[in-house]
Symmetry: C2
Amino acid sequence: MTNFSVLILGNASAAPTLTRSNTSQLVNINEQYFLIDCGEDTQTKLREHKIKLQLLDHIFISHLHGDHYLGLMGLIQTMNLLGRTSTLFIYCPANIEEIINVHIKFSESALKFPIQYQLVNFKKSEIIFENDKVVVSSIPLKHRIPCSGFLFKEKPKPRRINSTAIKQYNVPKHQIFKLKLGEDYADEDGKIIKNNVLTYDSLPSFSYAFCSDTKYEEQIIDVIKEVSLLYHEATFSDEHSDRAIKTFHSTAKQAALIANKANAKRLIIGHFSNRYPDLNVLLEEAKIIFKNTELAIQGNEFKITEDQ
Amino acid sequence: MTNFSVLILGNASAAPTLTRSNTSQLVNINEQYFLIDCGEDTQTKLREHKIKLQLLDHIFISHLHGDHYLGLMGLIQTMNLLGRTSTLFIYCPANIEEIINVHIKFSESALKFPIQYQLVNFKKSEIIFENDKVVVSSIPLKHRIPCSGFLFKEKPKPRRINSTAIKQYNVPKHQIFKLKLGEDYADEDGKIIKNNVLTYDSLPSFSYAFCSDTKYEEQIIDVIKEVSLLYHEATFSDEHSDRAIKTFHSTAKQAALIANKANAKRLIIGHFSNRYPDLNVLLEEAKIIFKNTELAIQGNEFKITEDQ
């Protein structure tokens, strides 16, 4: 079973409130963790959820507005205090290194671990990170400053072995990896056994797209097509669409339109303006267009599964 | 009645925990507010205590270790969002302007209010701020990087008018201000009425000294002599005095020794290392030397009064 989940650590746009912290999310793909954005006090939020900071190796920062990264300096400092020595990878569409370095300079406290910065292409989708199970790509967003979303995609999984059939056809162990890749099997007599006789279909590969902050931008639809779970910012309701245009943000309706056009399986909306004490205004607006919408409530974990 | 109080917004050294945020304190002298240090998430702590951010004009930063200032960028950003236009004054012994400016540069969001930075002398005590009621001076501390404490002193108050005596001696109204300053009164016949016949003693003037972070440093004693309330860091217990020496911090015992030698009326200790889940270890250690010691518990407000 795959474990693929997204934990909402903060969902407020602009100023944090007592119940809504600034944007941060923790993506967990089979216990490999990816932090997306790092609003002020993210380290405490991680602590609340008992996430060990040592487990974080990859941090993705969408853009350099304070509500998306001001917790990063504190997080790095605490990692240092905890004795981290392994490389930390930070992906960002702007030169965040300059910011980190000026803090380090004045503190006169050298980090005991290296940071590797990777500049993210925010004009077109490119692969940022890849391992044997996951690929992360940039999603070009349109905000007031360089801004990138992030698409997490599980790689295709191996076909599952049918143990009974394997025994029946006496398939030797060293042939198993080929079956998992989808190859047919030729027995000692040269007889071909079709792969689908010996295996079951692979488990599905899931994906998660994080899109914040952005104005309504149809160019992202191709990038996030058929995504399992889409997070799209919904700072405003349609009533304030003029404000959304002016500030390069989206409305709940627009988030739903994107989900619809991308044929996403499921949508979560967040990055709420403080003007909405009752978030159902935004939820209901989105649901009219895209039924499978939920609010990215702080502290909620969204598990991505087949039967969602 | 004077209202002179200190609200503890955070008291943790190094990494924040779920119950202890990083250093920040709010000094309230007759509803004029002074923020001292600004650890991560201070803006939310202020919000918890219903302090309006617009009331903050003066922020004092002791030094540029992250646990003492990483909340400043978020606070400034939120002040900007709230539409602030009036000047913000920031006092710091190092060039914090460079840090603020690099954040503003990348956010591409100009501040709508000016910030005036004042470099604080951290090698000797100098007046940093003064108005008609209060004087704030630097306290030279000894830490790993330039670091200053802050001494808040109420100016001497006017003598209080004895209304009965004023009537009895027919003192005209325009002479009252002289009486408040301590002058005697000469009546129409040239007869001198002593000031103390016409007035009561002034209310006492209180003072508060904030000393964090510092190694044990007897040179501060003269600066904080007779202080009404002393906050002194007590990162460690005496058991870890070697660690205190190495990191340029103090033990609870040393904080108490300073309070004793300075003849402070009252001591609060804070900036606790996370290694002490039970802070009574530190409290009891200090009390042996300076009885009138309390813990700077987060959320507690310390009122400075005559009968303390």
